[in-house]
């Protein structure tokens, strides 16, 4: 079984770069949204990077993922074009979805990214379908549903655990428990335990530290290998935390006064990653600093080009409703 600590230097640099890209992307969107430059709703993934990257490092284009309304991180981790994503969030014609989807519907099916989703809990059934495709056509692919603690209470998710089991699908349900469904704590809203729910449906289950890239990477390797080899579906539950509110503009009055500051100081997945790789001398600080600088420049460039890009024209309003009509 692959272990995160056995990753090559190059692979570790890729993992770090993806996590850093997600962080800078989200920080920048936060800044730009606050400045009034971005329309609509955005939900930021900063703080949860270890989950998306820890899983998606194992995947290729034949594998599918479904995301949540908090979908930027999963999209970047699965290989969506970052500049195209930024343009999409700005509603530009050359955005990843032509400016028709926006933050909540970023998708790129060619990369196996089945979309962020505006409907909480909608991803799990879709992933059963993607897993069915892989199984029926024999592609060897797997399908992963990222779902929050909020979405975990939807019937769709629980029905999908059952369907994945009875159809014996190469599916994995990753419950990203960031502690809050909107403003309501998962300690209140979730009855029983997430892992016990999985066991109740006969899924293989794992509990993992969602702040630790290496722990996630190792559990992901096991679950994905199980799915690829015909061993059936799994559920992975992890505790993690978001640095921002449910949506941008959320004053987060439901959180403790020092909660986010403490998170950033003690449980930041990027900091934990840096400590781990520099302590073991696999990478040095300068390697990571170089990535930090390069990513900062890349994201700045994405914002600048998004602002300069053209808006869709009126003639784009009615295209793409159907393949043919």
């Amino acid at each position: 079984m692959a272990s995160g600590l056995q990753l090559s230097r190059e692979e570790l640099l890729v993992a770090y770069r993806r996590m850093r890209t997600i962080r800078d992307f989200e920080d920048k969107v936060h800044e730009e949204f606050s400045a009034g430059n971005i329309p609509g709703f955005v939900h930021l993934y900063a703080g949860e990077e270890a989950s998306a990257v820890g899983f998606c490092m194992h995947l290729d284009d034949r594998d599918a993922i479904a995301s949540t309304h908090r979908g930027h991180g999963h999209s970047i981790a699965k290989g969506c074009d970052v500049e195209g994503m930024m343009h999409e969030i700005y509603g530009r014609k050359d955005g990843l979805c032509g400016g028709k989807g926006g933050s909540m519907h970023i998708a790129d099916l060619s990369k196996g990214m089945l979309g962020a989703n505006g409907i909480v809990g909608a991803g799990a059934p879709l992933i059963c379908g993607a897993a069915l495709t892989a199984k029926t056509l024999g592609t060897g692919g797997v399908a992963i549903c990222f779902v929050g603690d909020g979405g975990s209470n939807q019937g769709t998710t629980l029905e999908s655990y059952n369907l994945a089991k009875v159809w014996d699908l190469p599916a994995i349900f990753v419950v990203e428990d960031n502690g809050y469904a909107e403003s309501t704590a998962s300690s209140w809203s979730v009855g029983g335990s997430q892992v016990d729910r999985g066991k109740g449906f006969g899924l293989a289950t794992h509990e993992v530290d969602g702040f630790d890239f290496f722990a996630v990477f190792d559990v992901a390797a096991e679950a994905i290998e199980r799915a690829r080899s015909g061993g059936g579906p799994s559920l992975v539950h992890m505790k993690l935390a978001r640095h921002y509110g449910h949506f941008e503009g959320d004053a987060m009055t439901y959180r403790a006064a020092d909660e986010v500051a403490a998170l950033k100081a003690e449980s930041d997945p990027l900091t934990i990653f840096r400590q781990r790789v520099t302590e073991t001398a696999i990478l040095n600080g300068a390697d990571l600093d170089e990535i930090d600088g390069a990513v900062r420049t890349e994201i700045e460039g994405c914002v600048a080009s998004a602002k300069a890009a053209a808006m869709p024209a009126e003639s784009d309003l009615l295209t793409d409703v159907y393949v043919s009509y």
């Binding site: 599918a64 479904a66 955005g95 990843l96 979805c97 032509g98 400016g99 028709k100 989807g101 519907h105 998708a107 790129d108 099916l109 060619s110 196996g112 089945l114 979309g115 989703n117 505006g118 409907i119 909608a122 799990a124 059934p125 879709l126 992933i127 059963c128 379908g129 993607a130 069915l132 495709t133 892989a134 029926t136 056509l137 399908a143 019937g155 769709t156 029905e159 999908s160 059952n162 369907l163 009875v166 159809w167 295209t319 793409d320 409703v321 159907y322 393949v323 043919s324 009509y325």
Partner: protein, 342 residues
Amino acid sequence: MSNKSYRQAIAEALTQEMRRDHRVVIMGEDIAGGLGAPGEDDAWGGPLGVTKGLMAEFGRERVLDTPISESAFIGAAAGAAATGLRPVAELMFVDFMGVCFDQIFNQAAKFRYMFGGKAVTPMVVRTMYGAGFRAASQHSQCLYPLFTHIPGLKVALPSNAYEAKGLLTQAIRDDDPVIFFEHKAMYDMEMEVPDEPYAIAFGEANVTREGDDVTIIAFGRMVNLANEAADNLAKNGVTCTVVDPRTTSPLDRETILETAAETGRVVVVDEAHPRCSMASDIAGLVAQEAFGELKAPIKLVTAPHAPVPFSPALEDIYIPSVAKIEAAVTEIVEYGEKAAAE
């Protein structure tokens, strides 16, 4: 060419398309049936036997029984369609849409638009509709207007066995999500249906009768009632054009408006409730686009704004009838005559 029932026509379309394209799979509750049970395999072949025998040819890998779990398997059909299969999911009764509508209208219907034209979602939802089976309020509705309302969905309403095979073949070959409505009272209706595969294009209405006095636009099973009414009326010298739009989305506006203009009198026959229905939609279309051609008010023959009742005594008067269609036609013909006399 041989006589086939509506049920056989649907099964034949499924069989031929599954042979033609290995990506076509079918799924649904009891679509084969008997899975895991001690008795017969393929015990039901769907609740009314439409898919009986398909499992024997295509195996459990392509004939997928599901738990009673519409949210999950209709959503799975959407996900499978977006990733390369061409699933045909059976939603046993359209009344059950309440537990899986999100997967249809927020997911499958919108992928293409939301994802900037990059998604293709070739899924079909086959579903039973319609009253007349003493099945009461939750198993008898005609909910096609709700699906017709949603951009991104196509909606087909085959009115007989020939139409059923051709429209289902088109639905399966179509790259957009299609909701395919099967009227439960038509499964045993027989007619000549070609043995060879064929597809009927969506959005092209079928003019089943041609007349001079009134244009009747009818949907699904109501087309047969409208034809019968037209034949009866013809004996008394009142001739009707009957239009079967075949699909409510896309809608053949051109044929509806042309035939409405030719007679100047329009009756719409719709088994659904009258509010926000196909009947009101067609009336709105004709009033907007062909007002100057009308010689009489547009008449709607629909079910009432009430749930479908259980008691046979009530259900029989609930459903639009040949007599009601004839009365509506006669009323607007006389309206024209009165106006001419004044």
